[in-house]
């Protein structure tokens, strides 16, 4: 289990406990956090679960594969160095304390 913090564009924070094998995306969906759509259900098709990893984060994340890299070209808000698809971030104990910023829009 890991505590994940989702920061909304207006600065408010939502902190939730997410359990393996859920992903950072599913953690948001299960807690009805507005700002993650995940229309394709987590199959890296749609790019509507885009998050920005906090720049000061030292939490170790799995590397990005080619498909995720490609899908991030089509996000509704600009892609940045710290962009990820939250459906590609499976939760492990290592992710405890992760802070992700939600973009203004997903679609």
């Amino acid at each position: 289990m890991a505590k994940i913090t989702y920061q909304h564009p207006d600065g408010t924070l939502t902190v939730v406990d997410v359990q393996a094998p859920d992903t950072v995306m599913r953690g948001a969906k299960l807690n009805n956090i507005d700002g993650i759509e995940a229309q394709c259900g987590g199959s890296a098709q749609c790019g509507t679960c885009h998050v920005y990893i906090d720049e000061a984060s030292t939490v170790p994340l799995p590397p990005m594969d080619e498909v995720e890299d490609d899908v991030l070209y089509g996000t509704a808000c600009p892609r940045r160095e710290n962009s990820r698809l939250s459906c590609q971030l499976p939760v492990t104990d290592d992710l405890d304390g992760l802070l992700v910023h939600l973009p203004e829009a997903q679609s």
């Binding site: 259900g41 890296a44 498909v67 899908v71 509704a76």
Partner: protein, 420 residues
């Protein structure tokens, strides 16, 4: 008047997203979500793909946990059916005898498979694929020694299923009345390319072929398919995938305007301003000036759900989302953005021989849609370009070495990568 209670009929993708989005947007009144199936809301797309192979299990299908409905204070009613809408009293009646009063009603009733109107369609071993129960039955039949499977209809469900069944080792024949696969949804280029992939995988495709009858044993079990040209195909499993019909009977009985779906305005309101319709069952303004369309996709259901939730919360804007679709067949990733049916010009970019390419579709010089195979970046960029209107002309796209990626990077606009 601000709404205090919302009833949502249909607990599929659209219905669930409506209920969830209402809460996420701060609606604090009563929300009731009524679903006919005996299970909580689940994802349908894997039912014709990973669920049949076992790669996707029941837990993966669930859209939300049971505790979600409790924590969000959403009354989820499963295994019950709305049998009547009383517009005058703003009330729906349930088959179980219950009643629900509403301030706003959202119809998310979805669609049902078309029935094949031929003798033998009721034999054992003749299935359609729409619900989890359908998929469970099919999965059990495909989990065993090789069968002779006939798939009637080369649409998305039929082809996904054909590809999956073939990969599981079954003999598969697809029978399609149109001269090419996915004739309604895909350009001829992609359609022919995809048909070749199916054939290479060992799927037999019979185009321009119509089913005359299904034949069965004395015990009522299907044994074969008889085509109009006299061909007999042996088959011990027949799956019908010839499209769906909108479930709009409740709306029609209530007196709402209906015509191949519940007719709605740009805000997705039906002819009664307290009643919205979304997803497969709704016919909305789109596809060009003065036209109405009905779309069967997760994107359409989800985006329309959020549009309606926003409207009920007091905001709201006309629905204008760019449609997109995806499919997985023959281990390929197919993604479609926009609506390509009326195109008059195409430009193919990329490498069809490697299974990585996109078909850009233009109508009177304007980009109307992009089909992509194995090019997720193209698909995402295409959705953005169709939204902003800042697409490349057909001549630009025909320039040697053109890619949507480089086009997007060279002309960054809202939503395109700025790091490269």
């Amino acid at each position: 008047m601000a709404a205090r209670s919302v009833a949502v009929i249909g607990a599929g993708q659209g219905g669930l997203e409506t209920a969830a989005a209402l809460r996420a947007k701060g609606f604090d009144g009563r929300i009731t979500l009524v679903g006919e199936e005996p299970v909580p809301p689940y994802q349908r797309p894997p039912l014709s793909k990973g669920f049949l192979t076992g790669a996707v299990g029941h837990v993966d299908l669930t859209l939300r946990t049971e505790s979600f409905f409790e924590s969000q204070d959403i009354d989820l009613v499963t295994g019950d059916r709305v049998c009547r809408i009383d517009l005058f009293r703003s009330r729906v009646e349930l088959a179980s005898g219950g009643r629900l009063d509403y301030d706003r009603l959202v119809l998310a009733t979805g669609s049902r498979p078309r029935v094949l109107p031929v003798p033998g369609a009721n034999l054992d071993g003749v299935l359609t694929l729409r619900t989890l129960a359908d998929a469970e039955e099919l999965r059990a039949l495909l989990d065993g020694p090789p069968r002779q499977v006939a798939v009637v209809g080369a649409g998305f469900v039929g082809l996904e299923l054909a590809s999956t069944a073939r990969a599981l080792g079954h003999e598969v024949t697809v029978v399609e009345a149109q001269p090419r696969v996915l004739a309604r949804a895909l350009t001829p280029q992609l359609s022919h390319w995809l048909a070749d992939r199916h054939r290479q995988q060992g799927v037999r495709l019979l185009m321009s072929s119509e089913v005359a009858a299904l034949s069965g044993s004395a015990s009522g079990r299907v044994e074969g398919v008889l085509l109009r040209d006299g061909t007999r195909l042996p088959a011990d499993l027949v799956v019908i995938g010839i499209g769906v019909l909108p479930r709009s009977e409740l709306a029609a009985d209530a007196g709402l305007l209906v015509g191949d779906g519940v007719l709605v305005d740009p805000w997705l309101r039906s002819s009664d301003r307290s009643v919205y319709a979304i997803g497969d069952c709704a016919r909305f303004p789109g596809g060009g000036p003065g036209r109405h369309i009905r779309l069967e996709s997760v994107q359409n259901a989800s985006d329309q759900a959020r549009c309606v939730a926003t409207a009920i919360c007091g905001g709201g804007a006309p629905y204008t989302a760019v449609p997109w679709f995806w499919s997985e067949q023959c281990a390929l990733r197919l993604q479609m953005a926009g609506l390509t049916a009326d195109h008059d010009e195409t430009v193919t970019v990329g490498h069809p021989d490697e299974g990585r390419f996109s078909v850009l579709c233009y109508r009177e010089g304007a980009l109307v849609g992009v089909e992509s195979v194995g090019r997720p970046a193209d698909h995402g960029i295409a959705r953005r370009l169709l939204t902003t209107g800042a697409w490349p002309s057909a001549d630009e796209a025909r320039t040697p070495g053109f890619t949507l990626k480089s086009f997007a990077v060279e002309r960054p606009s809202e939503g395109l990568p700025t790091h490269a």
